[in-house]
Subunit: 278 residues, 2 copies
Amino acid sequence: MTTAIRSEFDRGIALTQRPGEPGHYDGELDAGWQIGGGINGGLQLALAGHALSLRHGADGSHADPISISGYYLSAATPGPVDVRTELVRRGRSLSTGTASLSQDGRERLRVLASYGDLSDAEGAVHTSATPPQLPPPERCVSVADAPREMISQAALLERFDLRLDPATVGWAVGQPSGNGRIQGWFKLADGREPDPLMLLLVADALPPVTFDLGMPGWAPTVELTVHLRARPVPGWLRVVHSSRNLAGGYFEEDAEVWDESGRLVAQSRQLARAPRPQ
Amino acid sequence: MTTAIRSEFDRGIALTQRPGEPGHYDGELDAGWQIGGGINGGLQLALAGHALSLRHGADGSHADPISISGYYLSAATPGPVDVRTELVRRGRSLSTGTASLSQDGRERLRVLASYGDLSDAEGAVHTSATPPQLPPPERCVSVADAPREMISQAALLERFDLRLDPATVGWAVGQPSGNGRIQGWFKLADGREPDPLMLLLVADALPPVTFDLGMPGWAPTVELTVHLRARPVPGWLRVVHSSRNLAGGYFEEDAEVWDESGRLVAQSRQLARAPRPQ
């Protein structure tokens, strides 16, 4: 029996194992995940992360990414994609492996990651981090209200129910704050609830924080590392993107993702190239 | 003619290429880099980083790490070590590769990194990050004043001229602040000046930030990513370690390294296991 996959995200990260080739999977990058001229980096990381979840979690034990690092090598385009995985080390609580995402023999993304079981991640929490203070979703700026030219360059925005804090969207009307901070509420438009793999997408889902520095344009990711800190509960996610240092043509973009229970479920940092002056 | 290597750090990361095996290097982990039973993770990252610098920089162009991620697989011990490198992709401004550090066939560390030329990292700086405010080095707490039992477990501290801000060393006298922040001045004891490879050591050189949370003990690194943001000038470095979230047995440790010109030269984050209650 084949179960129809109803969520766009689950279709986006669907993989088929190549017969006789353990750890080698085929997938498809759908044009609906495009941003700028390529496929969204978070979706690529979730796809590679799914392959490693299948590989490490084959016996059910280490199926959750705990730390995952992706190095982006060339822009991915809509069409077939294959993912080769390699097991590096299997430990008691963590398994480490690599994944390589390619199209027509051209490598797009190389991943190195450690997997475990986020169900173990219970127990003591000592945190000075606090979730962002946001107006309720209905008083935030829906991406559906974004300028048309922005949507047309970012098909994937139609797959997100993204509600940005009005205090951090001045850039959409030509008034960037210069603070280097964009924050808001996130859900998938089709209602698919969050899980660890979806958090890999969410870490790279908001507009680049350089928009808020008055630098519109594409900001290609060099490297993105996501740490998964807890399994998210269903509901809205709160996401904060921030940057403190843009220099020499690069900037860092930190993301924090909080779930509806108020728990910090993911932290990420990426190094990206600053947009070229327009 | 053989040039004597006078700096302990340069000896620590020295490599010899195996005849007939391009990209495969031999080194030696000296007992002087031990901390809590293993070899310091920053020194290991600098050693693997040196191998990739030799590999990528063979033609002189991409010798500087720009982003480097290390996944720690097993505790390294004093003795011989070999490093295998693999080129993943050579681009115009960045080259990406992997390194695998092993002892007796047992892998200690897997690295994925992109290299470039930090001399290109000039130009516009837009930063809201500010260097830490520290008392002058002579009014900070020298590691030479640390409790004897701490030094005996951390041979490498004798190689550092580390002056910690008195405001962040309450833990040394049983009064941790609970803020999750340790900061201070850093130099190598033998006066070897900073460069990009040395910054990989510095990112993991201070005591674990969990000391300041009242959790003494060893905090093994799972993953450490360092972004090199500028080439450091000679002189003192200022280093800040901080953490905001300890949960489920893991914590993140962020490091910022500033050079004497007041420039942010490196940012890093690691995911580490929380020390076991003692």
